[in-house]
């Protein structure tokens, strides 16, 4: 029972990713795409978590945190890029 639920849940997450991918492809603006990517990252976190339940393993719990961290970093970088082009500033500005 639980396995079935989890499988459904995983599939739904993947579906959400698929939908977000569609948004990445069609755009239209860059921030749209970044938003969608961010969302994919968030869904991945959930996906990995669920999958560790499926497998009864703790081995992937690190991955969850890492995805969180990295999704943040890439969103940050992308947002910076969209905003300024230059994602790491050379000079401090305050």
């Amino acid at each position: 029972m639980i396995q079935i639920i989890l499988t459904i849940a995983l599939s739904l997450f993947c579906l959400a990713i698929l939908l977000a991918l569609y948004r990445i492809i069609i755009g239209p603006s860059m921030p749209d795409r970044v938003v969608a990517l961010d969302m994919i990252g968030v869904n991945l976190i959930s996906g990995v978590a669920v999958f560790s339940v499926v497998l009864h393993t703790h081995a992937f719990l690190e991955v969850i945190l890492i995805v969180g961290i990295l999704a943040f970093i890439s969103t940050l970088a992308l947002a910076r890029f969209v905003e300024r082009g230059d994602i790491v500033e050379h000079k401090r500005n305050n």
């Binding site: 961290i69 943040f72 790491v88 500005n93």
Partner: protein, 140 residues
């Protein structure tokens, strides 16, 4: 154009702290759990990446006055030199050894020479990644 980044900077400070801790944890736990020198090093490097993104390269280079090229060189040196040590004891190059010791506080603890090797690897990774990002962002 001045951009107000207070939220970002505050949050990323906290995040960096978490990442650092986590990176070190990954590095240390690599023997038995996922992680290890490479991953640990990479995660630590990504903390630096976050710092670079949320601040600017000048601030970072002022705050951490290290030559990351030399750090990576040091890492390579540690990795290679530590592996040569067994050669002086008549062992093949790269022989790792490990043992279990009863330490006062930690109880039964495993100590392995491979940790030194992995530390070298981790240092290399950090050094290289930071060096690359630093070099690019410094370019006019």
């Amino acid at each position: 154009m001045k951009i107000n980044d207070v939220i970002l900077k505050t949050v990323s400070k906290a995040a960096v702290l978490i990442i650092f801790t986590f990176g070190i944890y990954l590095f240390l736990s690599g023997h038995n759990e996922p992680g290890g020198g490479f991953i640990g090093g990479l995660v630590l490097a990504s903390a630096f990446v976050l710092l670079f993104l949320s601040h600017d390269s000048e601030t970072i280079s002022d705050a951490i006055p290290l030559d990351f090229k030399k750090i990576s060189a040091l890492g390579v040196l540690i990795a290679f030199a530590s592996s040569t040590v067994p050669m002086f004891f008549g062992q093949p190059f790269m022989s790792q050894s490990f043992g279990y010791f009863d330490l006062p506080i930690f109880g039964k603890t495993e100590l392995a020479t491979v940790t030194v090797f992995e530390a070298g690897v981790a240092l290399t990774v950090i050094g290289v990644v930071v060096n690359i990002i630093f070099s690019i962002s410094e370019d006019e």
